[in-house]
C-alpha cells in the first residue's frame, strides 16, 4: 500500500503543473484532508449494533483503492488470457468483481493480523504484499513463484505478509483460521485473524464447529463470508435453507456489508477488529459478486443470465464506484485515471513477460519440502535411504 501511495503522488504531481493548481488543491497538503463518504447501503447487524454509515477516508486512500483494485482486476483478466493460452493449467478461480473485499480489508488492518482464505486467493495475496511476478510465476508453475511452483493457483502463501493461504478443500481453512486466532490469543498479541470463506462453504459443519470453539474461548477470529451468491454452479437459495449467512452464527454477532463498496468493507473490518479483540468472534457477510464463473472451466452463464452479470457490472462495480468518488471529489481527472490503468496494464504485462522467462523447478525440487530440512527424516517413503525413481 505504501508503494502505491508514493506512485500516486508523483503521478498526480506530474499533471499538476500545466493546469491551474489552485482550483485543484491536490498537492501534498491534501493527504491530511478527510472526506466523509456514506456507504451505499447501511449495515445490517445481527445481535450487534452496526457501525455508522459514514466512513472517513482521504484522497490518498481513495487513490490507493483505485490503484490496487485496478491492478487486481487487470491481473485477473490477464490470468484469464494466460489460462486460455494454456500457460496456466488446472484450476484457476478468478476474483474479479470481488476486489473491494480484499482492498477494504487491507485498509483496516496491519500485516500482523492474519488472513486465510480458500482458493480464490490471487488478489488477497497481492493485497498482503505479494508481487505480480511471484503470482504469475506460481500460476505458470515456475520456481520463482511464491510456493516455488509447487502449489499452484490454489496455494498462494505469504508468511511475512500474514497471508496463510490458499486452500483447495472447501471449508477446511476455517478451523485453520480458528487455530491462527488461537495462537494469537495464546501469545497475547493484539491481532486478529480474518478467515474468509464463501457462501458454498457456509453450509459446512466445520464452520459451525469452529464458530462454537471461537465463541467458547473468545478467540479473536473474524469469519468473513464472501457471499457471491453462487456456490460453484448452485445459487445460494438452492443450497442454504437460510441464506442470511451473517445470522447463522446464532450466538455469534454478525454484520451484513455491501462487499462491492470498498469503504463499507473497510469500516466493517475495522469495527470487527475492535469487536474481536474485546468480545470474541464476529461474522461479516460481504455481499459481493464475481463476474467470471466459479473457475476457468465454468463459463458462468449456465446458472445465471448475462443480463444479471452486466447489470451488476453497471450498477455495483467496485472500481467504478471509486472512480466516481474520485471524479466527484475532484481528486483526479478522467485522463489521470485512464493513465493509471494503462500504467498498471503495462506493469502486469511486464510481470507476465518476466514470469514467462522464469525457469521451471529443478527435478530435485520434487523431493524438497516434504519434511523440514535437517530435522532427521530425509526421505519420504518406506525406503528412506535412496531415491528410487530415476528422474529425467
Amino acid at each position: 500500500m505504501a508503494l502505491s501511495t508514493h506512485r500516486t503522488t508523483t503521478t498526480l504531481l506530474r499533471y499538476l503543473t500545466p493546469t491551474i493548481s489552485s482550483l485543484r488543491h491536490v498537492s501534498t497538503d491534501c493527504s491530511s484532508s478527510t472526506i466523509t463518504v456514506e456507504t451505499s447501503v447501511p449495515f445490517t447487524g445481527h445481535n450487534i449494533d452496526p457501525p455508522s454509515r459514514s466512513v472517513d477516508t482521504t484522497p490518498q486512500e481513495l487513490m490507493s483503492f483505485f490503484r490496487d483494485m485496478a491492478l487486481m482486476r487487470r491481473k485477473e483478466i490477464a490470468a484469464d488470457s494466460l489460462y486460455k493460452a494454456k500457460l496456466i493449467r488446472g484450476f484457476c478461480h478468478l476474483y474479479d468483481g470481488q476486489e473491494a473485499v480484499a482492498v477494504g480489508m487491507e485498509a483496516a488492518i496491519n500485516r500482523k493480523d492474519c488472513i486465510i482464505t480458500a482458493y480464490r486467493d490471487h488478489c488477497i495475496f497481492l493485497g498482503r504484499g505479494g508481487t505480480l511476478l511471484e503470482s504469475f510465476a506460481e500460476l505458470m508453475g515456475r520456481k520463482d513463484g511464491c510456493s516455488k511452483g509447487k502449489g499452484g493457483s490454489m496455494h498462494f502463501y505469504k508468511k511475512e505478509g500474514g497471508f496463510y493461504g490458499g486452500h483447495g478443500i472447501v471449508g477446511a481453512q476455517i478451523p485453520l483460521g480458528c487455530g491462527l486466532a488461537f495462537a494469537q490469543k495464546y501469545k497475547n498479541d493484539e491481532n486478529v485473524t480474518f478467515t474468509l470463506y464463501g457462501d458454498g462453504a457456509a453450509n459446512q459443519g466445520q464452520l459451525f464447529e469452529a464458530l462454537n470453539m471461537s465463541a467458547l474461548w473468545d478467540l479473536p477470529a473474524i469469519l468473513v463470508c464472501e457471499n457471491n451468491h453462487y456456490g460453484m454452479g448452485t445459487a445460494e437459495w438452492r443450497a442454504a435453507k437460510n441464506p442470511a449467512y451473517y445470522k447463522r452464527g446464532d450466538y455469534v454477532p454478525g454484520l451484513k456489508v455491501d462487499g462491492m463498496d470498498a469503504l463499507a468493507v473497510k469500516q466493517a473490518c475495522r469495527f470487527a477488529k475492535e469487536h474481536a479483540l474485546k468480545n470474541g468472534p464476529i461474522i461479516l457477510e460481504m455481499d459481493t459478486y464475481r463476474y467470471h464463473g466459479h473457475s476457468m472451466s465454468d463459463p458462468g452463464s449456465t446458472y445465471r443470465t448475462r443480463d444479471e452479470i452486466s447489470g451488476v457490472r453497471q450498477e455495483r462495480d467496485p472500481i467504478e464506484r471509486v472512480r466516481k468518488l474520485l471524479l466527484s471529489h475532484d481528486i483526479a481527472s478522467e485522463k489521470e485515471l485512464k493513465d493509471i490503468e494503462k500504467e498498471l496494464r503495462k506493469e502486469v504485462d511486464e510481470a507476465i513477460a518476466k514470469a514467462k522467462e522464469c525457469p521451471l523447478p529443478e527435478p530435485s525440487e520434487l523431493f524438497t519440502n516434504i519434511y523440514v530440512k535437517g530435522s532427521g527424516a530425509e526421505s519420504f517413503g518406506a525406503d528412506r535411504k535412496e531415491v528410487r525413481a530415476v528422474l529425467p
Partner: protein
C-alpha cells in the same frame, strides 16, 4: 546451526556414544538405543540423540557393518518405575516446561485429566489455554491445532481414540501433511497427533481400529508407535521437538505396562527401530502390542531350540531399513507380526520394502502375520481370532525355518 549440532554430537558421543547410526566412515561402536544424556540447556530445538545430521545427503545403499550390543530398553538400574501412561505424561510435562509453545488439545484432556490419564494434573499446572478441553469436533480442533502450528506453536493434538481421527482425515492429510510442500517451505507444522488405537478388550468394531495403514501414504508426516514406557517417553519428546508433523500411535492395552526408566532426560530418535532380542535364525519385525505376543512366542521358540531376532520397528514411516537390513543379512528369514489390517497395512508396505531392497539376502519368502480383514467383533473369542496370537507366531517361525 551446523556448528552447534557438531558440538552436541561430540558431547553426546563422549557421554554415551549415542550417535545416529551413520553410514559415513566413522562407525561409532555403540548401540542404537543406548542412553544419550543430553542437557536441556545445550540443545537446539531439533536435535535428538543424533548430533551429526547427514543434512541432505542420501545414502545409496542401506547396508553397513555395525556392531550392535544388546542393551535392552530399561538399561540403567537406578531410575524410577512407572506405568506407560505416566511415562507419556512425564515426557509431555517436561516438554511443556521446556518450551512455552507446547500446548495440548483434545477431548477431556484438561479438567478430566485425559481419558487414559496421560494429561492428568497438567491443566491445573499449565492453565486451561495450554491444556485445552475441546468440544467433540475432531475435524475442527485438529484443523485448529494445525493452524496454530502454522504460526509457530507446537500443539499436541490428542484423539481420544485414533479411530475418531478419521473425522479429521482431511485436516491431517491435506493441511498437516502437505502444507510444508504446497507453501514451498514457508510454513512448518510441528504438530504431534497422538492417541490410543488398536484392538482392546471387546470395545467393538469402531473403537478397535488401526489407522496406521490409512495414514501411511500421506506424504509429509512421520509415524511412530510406542510400546514400552521407555520408548513412549522418548518418542513423545522426540515427536514434540520434531519440526515435522508426527503421528504417535499408542495402544489401549499397553497403558498400564510398568517399567523402570532412567531419571536423566533422554530423547529417542524418531526413525530408529529397537532391537528387542538379538538372534540368529529368523528376524521377527513387530511393533506396538504385538511385540508382547512375539516375546511370549519367543519363550516357546527358545525352548524348542530356535534363536529368533526380534526388532520393534517403532518407526512406521519411514521404516528403519538400516537396522532391518542388517538383521535380514544376518538371518535371511523374515517374519512380520503386526496388528494392522492385512490389506494395505504396515506389514504389506514393509514386505514390499524388504523385498525390493534385500531380495538377495532372503532364503525364504517373507511371512506377514496381520489382523484379519474384518471389523473387530465384540465377542471375546472372535476378537481373539482377529489378532495374531502367540501360537500362530510359533507356527510361522517353524514354517520359515524348515
Amino acid at each position: 546451526m551446523a556448528a552447534v549440532l557438531q558440538t552436541i554430537g561430540a558431547a553426546s558421543a563422549a557421554l554415551s556414544g549415542g550417535s545416529f547410526p551413520d553410514h559415513s566412515s566413522k562407525l561409532s561402536v555403540s548401540s542404537i538405543h543406548s542412553l544419550p544424556v543430553i542437557r536441556s540447556d545445550a540443545r537446539p530445538n531439533l536435535s535428538s540423540i543424533h548430533g551429526s545430521f547427514r543434512a541432505g545427503k542420501l545414502i545409496s545403499k542401506a547396508v553397513a557393518t555395525k556392531v550392535e550390543n544388546s542393551a535392552t530398553s530399561a538399561a540403567s538400574k537406578p531410575g524410577h518405575e512407572l506405568l506407560l501412561f505416566e511415562a507419556l505424561r512425564e515426557g509431555l510435562e517436561e516438554e511443556m516446561e521446556r518450551d512455552p509453545r507446547v500446548c495440548v488439545m483434545g477431548e477431556d484432556v484438561g479438567h478430566y485429566g485425559g481419558s487414559y490419564k496421560v494429561t492428568k494434573d497438567l491443566a491445573p499446572k499449565f492453565g486451561d489455554l495450554r491444556v485445552l478441553d475441546t468440544p467433540i469436533a475432531e475435524n475442527s480442533f485438529t484443523g485448529m491445532g494445525i493452524g496454530a502450528a502454522m504460526t509457530g506453536l507446537r500443539p499436541v493434538i490428542e484423539g481420544m481414540n485414533m479411530g475418531f481421527l478419521l473425522l479429521a482425515f482431511n485436516q491431517i492429510s491435506d493441511n498437516c501433511g502437505m502444507l510444508h510442500y504446497t507453501s514451498g517451505g514457508q510454513f512448518t507444522i510441528p504438530a504431534v497427533i497422538r492417541g490410543p488405537g488398536g484392538v482392546g478388550r471387546q470395545l467393538g468394531a469402531e473403537h478397535s481400529q488401526r489407522l496406521e495403514s490409512y495414514f501411511q501414504s500421506i506424504p509429509g508426516i512421520q509415524m511412530v508407535a510406542c510400546s514400552t514406557p521407555y520408548n513412549a517417553k522418548g518418542l513423545m519428546k522426540a515427536a514434540i521437538r520434531s519440526e515435522n508433523p508426527v503421528v504417535l500411535f499408542e495402544h489401549v492395552l499397553l497403558y498400564n505396562l510398568k517399567e523402570r526408566i532412567p531419571d536423566e532426560e533422554y530423547v529417542l530418535s524418531l526413525e530408529e527401530a529397537e532391537m528387542v532380542r538379538p538372534g540368529e535364525h529368523v528376524t521377527i519385525l513387530t511393533y506396538s502390542r504385538m511385540r508382547y505376543h512375539v516375546m511370549q512366542a519367543v519363550k516357546t521358540l527358545v525352548n524348542k531350540g530356535y534363536d529368533p531376532e526380534v526388532i520393534d520397528i517403532r518407526s512406521l514411516k519411514p521404516f528403519d531399513l538400516y537396522t532391518i537390513g542388517n538383521s535380514v543379512k544376518k538371518t535371511h528369514r523374515v517374519l512380520i507380526v503386526e496388528e494392522c489390517m492385512r490389506t494395505g497395512g504396515i506389514g504389506a508396505s514393509l514386505t514390499a520394502a524388504i523385498n525390493e531392497n534385500f531380495h538377495d539376502y532372503l532364503d525364504a519368502p517373507i511371512i506377514c502375520l496381520s489382523s484379519q480383514d474384518v471389523p473387530t467383533p465384540y465377542a471375546g473369542t472372535l476378537e481373539e481370532w482377529t489378532v495374531v496370537q502367540p501360537p500362530q507366531i510359533v507356527t510361522a517361525v517353524e514354517q520359515l525355518c524348515q
